[in-house]
Symmetry: none
Subunit: 216 residues, 4 copies
Amino acid sequence: MALDSPAKAPNSRRTILDAAAACFARQGFAQTSIDDIARAIGATKGKIYHHFRSKGELLSAVRKSSILLTSAQVEPVFLANQAPRARFHSMAMAHVRAMIEQLPYHRVVIENLRKGDIGPSTPHERALMQEIRTLQRGYEDLFRTVITQGMQNGAFHSQPVSVALHSVLMLLNAPVFWYHPRQGETAADRVAIARQIADMALAALTPRAEPKDPLP
Amino acid sequence: MALDSPAKAPNSRRTILDAAAACFARQGFAQTSIDDIARAIGATKGKIYHHFRSKGELLSAVRKSSILLTSAQVEPVFLANQAPRARFHSMAMAHVRAMIEQLPYHRVVIENLRKGDIGPSTPHERALMQEIRTLQRGYEDLFRTVITQGMQNGAFHSQPVSVALHSVLMLLNAPVFWYHPRQGETAADRVAIARQIADMALAALTPRAEPKDPLP
Amino acid sequence: MALDSPAKAPNSRRTILDAAAACFARQGFAQTSIDDIARAIGATKGKIYHHFRSKGELLSAVRKSSILLTSAQVEPVFLANQAPRARFHSMAMAHVRAMIEQLPYHRVVIENLRKGDIGPSTPHERALMQEIRTLQRGYEDLFRTVITQGMQNGAFHSQPVSVALHSVLMLLNAPVFWYHPRQGETAADRVAIARQIADMALAALTPRAEPKDPLP
Amino acid sequence: MALDSPAKAPNSRRTILDAAAACFARQGFAQTSIDDIARAIGATKGKIYHHFRSKGELLSAVRKSSILLTSAQVEPVFLANQAPRARFHSMAMAHVRAMIEQLPYHRVVIENLRKGDIGPSTPHERALMQEIRTLQRGYEDLFRTVITQGMQNGAFHSQPVSVALHSVLMLLNAPVFWYHPRQGETAADRVAIARQIADMALAALTPRAEPKDPLP
DNA sequence: TATGAATGAGTTTTCATTCAT
DNA sequence: CATGAATGAAAACTCATTCAT
């Protein structure tokens, strides 16, 4: 008979990771010391170094988690069989909801987007970075696919895909910079925000009729 | 006859600031040491500390410059007498062009958006932060004004202004994350990018006819 | 059977403190770098910062030690049941002996008496200062008590207590400025010095018969 | 005919010196920067370096001033023809009054008594130190003379002169550590303090009848 | 696993001092 | 005389990381 808790072990990594994400999100990566994280979980540095080889690996792990968490919510929607506009809209909503529901993880990622372009010295860290870049690329490709399809299809305005993709993704990421849960906020409130942003993203890709006021 | 400049303006400050913006943009604020900046202009740390009291003040100065530079390009457009859609579109283009034309300054700002929310301990630094917040608020209000007007006017889709504003601004800021001048790029190329993004931003605010494929 | 000591007491702290007291006493607080202290014990700055948060805390710890060491020698004498003059005299001797027997600690304190009146910025350092002030106050009160009693009693000349107290204490502290152990000095020599000073202190408080040469 | 003020020039040095004394007294020598002093008189570093070669020279000048100011008040009293007890008492009062009437200068000196034992590297500074030591020695000799005389004379208790001298001088210097002018304090108040301390100093040197309570 | 001690390299900051104007 | 810019050397502190236990 088990003495106490059911699945005892694997908690540590996740506990540390949550604390790291929270600290990085609150104070920024550089402003967070390993001791800060340790203190946040009532442990010592040593414990963290048992589970992660370096501070950089901690950041990598948070980034990876962020992508996996988002993918987990967006990919099923991507796979559902929908027309481009509906498909994009559902993906956008799922993405925004992921952003605001696991805010710390995603904030860390967005605020360190270009980190690691230079830096990681050890082969191990370079490998991690590479893996993350691959995951990131794969995730973006979900949106790239839908957008490309929609453009071919006529559902979306035809334009350079890369610019459109990055612009729209940043629009969907924006809540990371300003969102913060209000007192007494409900799930419905969050859905409303997600819908508003997804609507805008969709509109941004929509074919324009004709410029009623002539634009210069 | 001299046009305007104070002639003997010691451009030391500006030289340092440019170097700081470049370094911060390339390596990130935390990864840049004061020595890096000094080395970049062939001077010593001491020179920098003679003109700026601290690394944080350097960041503040870059932020302030960024806002002023952008304002200088966008405000005249704001003041021109145009209908909401045209007005917003011109402002958006001006904003994007500012982003990519003084990339380092703006990249620093966007990548450190939430820096200084906590931290600045000295009264002097707090005052600087306050001033920057005021400038920032003022700048955002240009867009807030146009958007609000457009909504009342029917030119824009009616929706919560704050979310719309922040979303659209982040869309306009997005180039900061991915843009980098290509070999042989012309001014026209940059205008094209700015136009594409401004078009999307305008579309994001545009009233939607009717959802042809029903959205969930 | 072990008498008392906590056996495994990591005397790192005490080692560092002794070295700090010695350096501060020799060169002065401001003229001593943390590296000086580290070098004195064959360690690195890091070790010191592992045990003490700042140079100021090091000074505070020395001050505290000084007061505790002195108290440990003077308080038992205070508690013994003696008439005011004898009591004061024994306390004075104990005080002077403490001064010259742990010279470095006390020299540091006396030479930095007013340090920290302004300065300590962190709450932690302010708390330390407060604690020290309390200890200091408590220690002075031993003498204040005896002096007050003696004045009421007629054993001492009646006069403003505060001025008398501070004057006499500084007289007892004076060796800190000039004493330095001579070649071949014995414990008896030190007792002689202590007795001479204690005698003077006692005389300073003694009721004056009549001014034989009229004082202006 | 002079344009404006009578003796125009020599003010600068004294102005600077006063400011230096005030700053050193308030914050301590090491905690005071040349800029602090410059700011205190609304000038710049350069001005100070025109009048004093170094920070150390500034300290030396303050020390010298302190001794000269005190001498100026005590020496005339010393030269007056009085019996040892009266002579000592008058000198002591003059000394204490000097202490509290030019507090900053004397505080600086007492708090830096052992400064310069090591340190001054330039020949010029060493010469200054030597001069100060000579002045200091000369000043102390006034008291040494009176005390020695009194001991031979029977007016004072016979005891090792050096210890007695240093002890009594520190007693007379003590106000430097605690005195601070009260609201509405009069000259008479200051005289009262001086008299109380001088009385104690005199008593400290007075021959003791017999220990009524036997001292251990 | 986890802890606490220790390290060492780096970073920000301070400041006395010099110098051209 | 006085200023403002610039320097260079030192100093306090930080912190990721290692290691013995």
